[in-house]
């Protein structure tokens, strides 16, 4: 196996590991093809198993012959290894560098991982488009499943099966695809059962400078409107950016050609700005020496919470159009694979109680992120510590999770899952033993044969034992639309992610446990009371029978 070539020193003794909230551990460091392992070889001390793919960056330092490697992980954790011997240290460092940046996806851990659990339900088949379609096909007959993209020929970033207006045939879809960025013709994202309004998403229209139009495109989106009704197009770029896009062949829907639609521009930032924001935020959180003014100004300068507010506001607006205005909407930015998905998925969290359940949220991620073609492979290749300025990394998905956390915080009883569930998804999007987040779209996943060769994250998560860790004990189904506040005073920093390795959460965790205990105890008592009542009632009827004669 090629890995052996990359591992010059597979084992070093007397390595000291320093990591947040644990005492230093001395032990043996081992490198395997996919893991960095440190074992103290004592029974009761914990071992460290770190996926190479979780390593974002490393630094080396030497004092005499003692080398130190500082490992910065994609989940923002920073650990330090003191390695005796300069050569060993250099070897280890170069191996880690090579192994954490493997070019070929098929060399990644998911292709080698063998699960230690029995698969009860194969996650690869948990959320099929046909099943999702059935959920609303009972309420409407205006939509159909189209198989036009089966070979990924019409739109490489779309899944094989998409939902489109019934009145539009596949031929028209092919034409519309040529008019939309990346072939991403408008498809159904969400159907609001309450009033039949819908969210559609697409790529930008390719109007160019000379105002090209496409009759089929107009027909397609008009097909979703009720007679005499207007719809809204939410463009996730500022008007300025949208206008500039025309020079590159892109553009936006002209009023003249889409008279039944009203266009709203809600600017949401794009990749590199978001990536920079993340880098600044994590840097601010990691520096414990900041005085108050510096901390606050760095937090502000990161702009992270501004992005959160922008995204949430756009999502609230979308939800408002649907639920309050009773209007259907089309959402797109440029490609329709990033900010578009943030808005469509968050709008569903707000509108649709099902997406606030564990199953429903998984389905949402499957539908609105994975199948919708969010390029996870590119976006999550590097995290907050990357120093190589690559173009495609961006914490788009993390921002989405942060927004969900913000809503969860405001409606702590309306979600079936807890914060840990969101943190787990963040971790797996960046480094995982499962194949779910590999590849940039369904087409790539098909080519990689992920279904055959790797395990789905959902197969693991949906086991009852695992689920219990992610279940919100406060959950009580809430069938209402939930409107979050987007005032800055209501949008705090997500400490569970960003301060996770910088401050002990011991007391908070204990308090959480106590809360769970109170709830569990309540259930127990309720059950006991009911049993006793029944028992008493039986005794009383027996008595009654004895007494009556």
């Amino acid at each position: 196996m090629e890995f052996a070539e990359l591992i010059k020193t597979p084992r070093v003794d007397n390595v000291v590991l320093h990591r947040p909230f644990y005492p230093a551990v001395e032990g043996t460091l081992c490198l395997t093809g996919h893991h960095l392992i440190l074992s103290s070889r004592q029974d009761n001390t914990e071992e460290l198993w770190l996926l190479h793919s979780n390593i974002d960056a490393i630094d080396k330092r030497f004092v005499g012959s003692l080398g130190t490697i500082i490992i910065k992980c994609k989940d923002f954790r920073i650990i330090q290894l003191d390695i005796p011997g300069m050569e060993e240290c250099l070897n280890i460092a170069s191996s880690i560098e090579a192994l954490s940046t493997l070019d070929s996806i098929t060399l990644m851990y998911p292709f080698f991982y063998r699960p230690m659990f029995e698969v009860i339900e194969d996650g690869w088949h948990s959320f099929l488009p046909e099943q999702e379609f059935e959920l609303y096909s009972s309420a409407t007959s205006e939509w159909r499943l189209s198989y036009v993209n089966t070979e990924f020929a019409v739109c490489p970033s779309y899944p094989p099966i998409v939902t489109v207006p019934k009145s539009i045939d596949d031929e028209a879809l092919r034409k519309v695809a040529t008019f939309r960025h990346g072939g991403r013709f408008p498809v159904l994202s969400y159907y609001h059962k309450k009033n039949g309004m819908v969210i559609m998403r697409s790529g930008q229209p390719l109007t160019g400078t000379n105002g090209r139009r496409c009759k089929e495109d107009e027909k397609l989106i008009n097909a979703t409107l009720r007679a005499g009704k207007r719809g809204y197009i939410i463009d996730t770029r500022s008007l300025n950016v949208a206008q500039q896009a025309r020079a590159k062949g892109g553009g936006f829907e002209q009023e003249a050609h889409y008279p039944q639609w009203r266009r709203i521009h809600k600017s949401i930032e794009r990749y590199h700005t978001l990536q920079e924001s993340l880098i600044k935020l994590v840097e601010a959180c990691n520096d414990q020496t900041h005085n108050m003014d510096r901390w606050l100004s760095k937090l502000e300068a990161s702009n992270w919470l501004t992005h959160i507010k922008e995204i949430l506001t756009a999502a609230c607006l979308a939800a408002q159009c649907i639920d309050r205005e009773g209007a259907s909407i089309l959402i797109h930015g440029t490609e329709g694979t990033d900010s578009t998905l943030q808005v469509t998925s968050l709008a569903q969290i707000i509108l649709e109680p099902r997406s606030r359940t564990i199953r429903g949220f998984e389905a949402l991620i499957e539908r609105e992120w994975l199948q919708a073609g969010h390029p996870f492979q590119q976006r999550c290749a590097q995290s907050a510590y990357c120093n190589t300025k690559q173009k495609w990394e961006a914490p788009v998905f993390l921002l989405f999770l942060d927004c969900v956390w913000q809503i969860l915080r405001q409606f702590p009883c309306s979600f079936e899952f807890n914060e840990n569930f969101l943190i787990m998804l963040f971790e797996h999007a960046y480094a995982s033993q499962f194949g779910t987040f590999l590849g940039n779209n369904e087409s790539e996943r098909c080519k990689l044969k992920l279904q055959q060769k790797t395990m789905s994250l959902w197969s693991w998560v949906n086991q009852p034992g695992e689920l219990s860790k992610f279940t919100n004990p406060l959950f009580e189904a809430n069938n209402l639309v939930i409107w979050p506040s987007v005032a800055p005073q209501s949008l705090p920093l997500w400490e569970g992610i960003f301060l996770r390795w910088n401050r002990s959460s011991k007391y908070l965790d204990e308090a959480y446990e106590e809360m769970v205990n109170i709830i569990e105890y309540n259930k127990e008592l309720q059950a006991k009371v009911n049993i006793l009542r029944r028992q008493l009632a039986e005794l009383e009827t027996e008595d009654g029978m004895q007494e009556s004669p």
Binding site: W295, C316, S485
Partner: protein, 621 residues
């Protein structure tokens, strides 16, 4: 009453504070002797106590009427639109008069009557007994004794009558020292740590100027350090920034010269003065009150207000105290300028970190009574109870409450009380409804005869304590003897529930806290139910086995029959299908009620900021 011209105005609009679309509720405004009351068309009442009003402003006339903006000391801001300018003017003038009383006797506490008789009132005042508290700490003992030097307020007018000092400090030393201390506030005991035999003492700045010294004062400090048998050196903590303390020397005041005192270690901790704190809060409130506030403006405003920096400074000083005692076993003497603002903050917070008793509901009352009320924190001046010098107003006590809140956030299980308790106390330092916080020192309170003419707040809070209990409190846990908070900047957060207490749209829409609290209550009830049921089942079973004999007994008039009767009632009430029984219990809980209130809220109105953004968005179409 003579100030009230108009008692009722109809068709008044109450604007949503953060809405730019001028969303409003229409209703009727009433002016009473004590309150301003607004009843909207849904019969929802908004009560504003006159004493809570910090400022009233009449804005320029608009087409819809005359705007009246009222800012309250509990951070409520209301914006009315009164249709006729004449009415607005009347109300404005009345409120100006009613919110600023010239005499203590006109404050609400002197007319407030909770229908208690004199002995109940007196009992209420006796609820907190500081002598008892010093006894709990373990004084008097072989090192510390009660001094009668100030029994008639002769040495220091702003101190209480009863003071604890080192046993070896004679009266002449005390008198001498008091002459060398600003306002006569000589070093006395604030908290005694029994295990470590170390003390927190407090005083005001020495009148040292550039070179003056006072042997008695030096002796008194020596006596304090000698009263600690373990560690001979003591810390002298000047809570002011060094520059301020130095400037004071020019005025004949200043700080201790380490060379003149044996065994002291002198330390500045840099908490700013009341004027800085007042303007800091002012800036904070300006930022918060902005409509359509952006995230960046919020954080840069938070930063430039300096508010959290000040909170951190107070917290750090308190931690210094706690560490000196627990780690070094050293006693600490704390002072600022006069020793009634920063000194109260730091001493009380330090004691709270050290002693879990102060983290109980009763203990917290005792702490406030001891370090704030009895030692002469000038509540009336700081809270602006009377129409006085606005430069004396400062949120010193609010900062103390905020520090405690930060601790409850870091140690969710260490406090018997919840945030609601802190908010309630904050409400009442300004309400002037109870006598506790009126006046500026004990002497003044005695002169006002508060114990005869007004009621004490504490018994009322204690009676209502269910509302203030922290459901997660773990009282038995010994891990929390000493709290060691983390003061890295990122731990300090904006206290939304204090500064936006009345801005419901900014709050989480569901409260975990209420839910857990109700569940805890419910659990207690269920435990009782189980006991009842078990005993009834036992009775039944006994009856069945004992057969006819018991049957006869039960039918005769017998102590057991009443229970049987209740059991029958009980059965009728609760013998429901399993699930329904569950639901009835949950449905009647408070959390659900609150929730439905919210549900109603978001089914009819969207969050202000979203609709604002929506408006902006539409314009760019």
């Amino acid at each position: 009453m003579e100030h009230i011209r108009t008692t009722k105005v109809e068709q008044v609009k109450l604007l949503d504070r953060f809405s730019t679309s001028n969303k409003s509720l229409t209703g009727t405004l009433y002016l009473t002797a004590t309150h301003l009351l607004f009843i909207d068309s849904h019969q929802k009442e908004t009560w504003i106590l006159h004493h809570h009003i910090a400022s009233v402003e009449k804005l320029a006339l608009t087409t819809s009427g005359c705007p009246l903006v009222i800012q309250c000391k509990n951070f409520r801001t209301v914006h009315f639109i009164v249709p006729r300018e004449r009415d607005c003017h009347d109300i404005y003038n009345s409120l100006l008069q009613l919110s600023k009383q010239a005499k203590y006797e006109d404050l609400y506490a002197f007319s407030y009557n909770p229908k208690q008789n004199d002995s109940e009132r007196l009992q209420g005042w006796q609820l907190i007994d500081l002598a008892e508290e010093y006894k709990r700490m373990g004084v008097p003992n072989s090192h510390w004794q009660l001094s009668d030097a100030n029994r008639d307020y002769k040495i220091c007018e702003t101190y209480p009558r009863e003071l604890y000092v080192p046993r070896i400090a004679s009266k002449p030393i005390i008198v001498g020292s008091s002459k060398f201390r600003s306002k006569g506030r000589f070093p006395v005991l604030s908290y005694y740590h029994q295990d470590k035999e170390a003390a927190i003492c407090r005083c005001s700045q020495p009148l040292s100027g550039f070179s003056a010294r006072c042997l008695e004062d030096e002796h008194l400090l020596q006596a304090i350090s000698k009263a600690n048998p373990v560690n001979r050196y003591m810390y002298v903590v000047d809570t002011r920034p060094k520059l301020n303390a130095m400037a004071n020397r020019a005025a004949g005041k200043g700080y201790e010269n380490e060379d003149n005192y044996s065994n002291i270690r002198f330390q500045f901790v840099g908490i700013e003065n009341i004027h800085v704190m007042r303007s800091s809060l002012q800036k904070l409130l300006e930022v918060n009150g902005t409509k359509g506030l952006s995230v960046n403006d919020f954080y840069s405003g938070l930063e430039s207000s300096g508010w959290l920096r000040h909170i951190k400074a107070v917290m750090d000083a308190a931690i210094f105290l706690a560490k000196a005692i627990t780690v070094e076993n050293a006693s600490v003497l704390v002072h600022c300028s006069d020793g009634w603002d920063r000194t109260s903050q730091v001493c009380s917070l330090g004691s709270l970190l050290l002693d879990s008793y102060y983290r109980t509901i009763k203990g917290f009352m005792v702490l406030i009574e001891k370090d704030w009320i009895s030692f002469g924190h000038k509540f009336s001046e700081r809270c602006g109870h009377l129409d006085g010098d606005p430069k004396e107003v400062s949120p010193v006590f609010t900062q103390f409450l905020e520090c405690v809140w930060h601790l409850t956030e870091q140690f969710p299980q260490a406090f018997e009380f919840s945030e609601a308790f802190l908010l309630q106390i904050h409400e009442h330092i300004h309400s002037c409804q109870f006598g506790n916080f009126l006046g500026n020192c004990q002497k003044e309170r005695e002169e006002l005869k508060l114990k005869e003419k007004t009621y004490s707040l504490w018994p009322f809070l204690l009676e209502d304590q269910k509302k203030y209990l922290n459901p997660l409190y773990s009282s038995t846990s010994h891990r929390f003897t000493v709290l060691e908070p983390n003061t890295i900047s990122f731990n300090f957060k904006f206290w939304r529930n204090m500064y936006h207490q009345f801005d419901r749209t900014l709050h989480p829409r569901q409260s975990v806290f209420n839910m857990i609290m109700n569940m805890n209550e419910q659990n207690k009830q269920l435990e009782k139910d189980i006991k009842d049921l078990e005993s009834k089942i036992k009775q039944r079973k006994n009856k069945q086995t004992d057969g006819i004999l018991t049957k006869e007994l039960l039918h005769s008039v017998h102590p057991e029959s009443p229970t049987l009767k209740t059991s029958l009632c009980f059965k009728e009430q609760t013998l429901l299908p399993v699930n329904d029984a569950l639901r009835t219990i949950e449905g009647s809980s408070l959390a659900d009620n609150r929730y439905s209130e919210y549900a109603e809220e978001f089914s009819k109105s969207e969050p202000a900021v979203v609709s604002l953004e929506y408006g902006v968005a539409r314009m760019t179409c």
